[in-house]
């Protein structure tokens, strides 16, 4: 976890495009939530988020909360039922947009000047694309996604009942 945060803070900025970099921590949180559920994902989101908050210039707690929201969204059962792992980059990009929107909201509340539409187009969307691109690397991980008890439960409840023969 610490290594992940260090990579985000030290390594990824060197691959930034005009200051915009992919979010590796977010990718891991999304993949974790997708694989092991929202609860597990939330734990990762909070632990990484606290570390990021300490290193970030954003108001304390903003990174944690934004990651938590992204983790909770990625942990929705819906993704499991529609096999979202096959379009992981799109899911990560969507989670990245959600993460940044929460962060923007918190920054705005904290008095940080933002030009919403401009920042959305010039920062949030390119960042989401980069994170989505990075998600391609996580394919081998999610391809062998272990089964999740609640997903199985849901799948079994959703399955059509066999007709009873009298």
């Amino acid at each position: 976890m610490v290594i992940l945060v260090i990579l985000q803070v030290v390594l990824l900025p060197h691959f930034s495009l005009h200051g915009i970099k992919p979010n590796l921590v977010l990718l891991v949180v999304v993949v974790w939530s997708l694989m092991y559920g929202a609860r597990e994902g939330s734990i990762w989101a909070l632990m990484c988020g606290i570390l990021l908050d300490l290193l970030s210039g954003a108001p304390l707690g903003a990174a944690s909360l934004a990651l938590l929201v992204a983790g909770l969204l990625a942990g929705l059962r819906l993704w499991r039922t529609i096999h979202a792992q096959w379009f992981l980059p799109a899911l990560v990009a969507a989670a990245s947009v959600a993460h940044d929107l929460v962060l923007m909201l918190l920054l705005q509340i904290g008095g940080h000047p933002l030009i919403w539409w401009d920042d959305l187009l010039r920062v949030v969307l390119p960042g989401a694309l980069l994170s989505g691109g990075l998600a391609v690397l996580a394919y081998p991980l999610v391809r062998r996604m272990p089964s999740r008890p609640e997903a199985e439960e849901e799948a079994s409840s959703a399955a059509p009942r066999q007709p009873v023969l009298w």
Partner: protein, 277 residues
């Protein structure tokens, strides 16, 4: 020994001695050539054959030895090459470091009025929406909140948070950063504000003041937040509208904010906090 055997060996010895004597005589008289030819015609082909065979074997052995030697040499050379490559990388790195330090030293010498502390950049802001960096100097090194941070290419930002051994620097390009500035040539004043992703805009330039592309923008020192005359950047475009009260100009900083390795903290400048007074 039986007599006949003794006699036979005596005869052989005698014959050999006689032969030798004849050969000596022939050599003395210069008639030994045909004998040499005869011997040569028999011995030389055999000698040649044997010699070839022996040489072949010897060459094989030599080849094996040489191969082993070559193998060892190859290993040595490979080791030398890798060591040299490492050395080259180290030297290249040292050269870059030296150039950077020279640049900083030159800047330091050109600005003796500043007490500058070199700090290494150890991290960047993890999110895309704010622009900060982390340096390896903190309270223990005399760093205080608000101190200006510069590089040899211009203003980088200012210290926004200080810890014992590290500090956060609010970059000039962050949306919450605003710096009182002036255009070096015309002395027109304004405020340089950062906005995402990494742009700088000089706002509130009075309508009548001359502004043009290529003008250098420096800190004005107004407001007491930053020292005067620190380079901010160069104007790349001007937005001027007759109905507006002010002009605006886009600025390009010479500082690459995302490739910084070493920055300088100006320690002998304390920003004036008007709120306290």
């Amino acid at each position: 020994m039986p007599t006949w055997k003794k006699d036979k060996s005596t005869i052989v010895l005698l014959l050999l001695s006689l032969g030798l004597a004849i050969m000596l005589l022939l050599q003395q008289t210069g008639h030994l050539g045909p004998v040499y030819d005869l011997v040569g015609s028999v011995v030389i082909p055999a000698q040649y054959a044997v010699s070839r065979a022996v040489n072949g074997v010897a060459q094989r052995f030599e080849g094996l030895t040489q191969m082993q030697q070559l193998e060892a040499q190859k290993r040595e050379l490979e080791e030398t090459v890798s060591q040299l490559m490492l050395k080259t990388v180290e030297l290249e790195e040292a050269k870059i470091e030296l150039e950077r330090l020279r640049e900083h030293l030159g800047f330091k010498e050109a600005n003796p009025e500043f007490d500058m502390l070199a700090a290494e950049v150890i991290g960047y802001e993890p999110t895309n929406l704010v622009r900060y960096l982390i340096i390896d100097r903190g309270e223990d090194d005399g760093v205080q909140e608000g101190m200006p941070v510069i590089s040899s290419r211009g203003l980088v930002g200012r210290i926004s948070e200080v810890n014992a051994r590290w500090s956060k620097v609010l970059l000039l390009v962050d949306a919450s950063s605003s710096v009182n500035a002036m255009i070096q040539r015309s002395r027109a004043t304004g405020v340089v504000q950062g906005h995402l992703p990494s742009d700088l805009t000089m706002r509130f330039i009075p309508q009548g003041d001359p502004v043009q592309e290529g003008d250098i923008v420096i800190t004005s020192g107004l407001g007491g937040n930053l020292p005067k005359n620190l380079v901010i950047g160069q104007i790349t475009s001007v937005r001027q509208n007759d109905v507006d009260m002010f002009q605006e100009a886009e600025i390009r900083s010479a500082v690459d904010f995302y490739r910084l390795e070493v920055v300088l903290v100006i320690r002998n400048f304390t920003p004036i906090d008007f709120a306290d007074q």
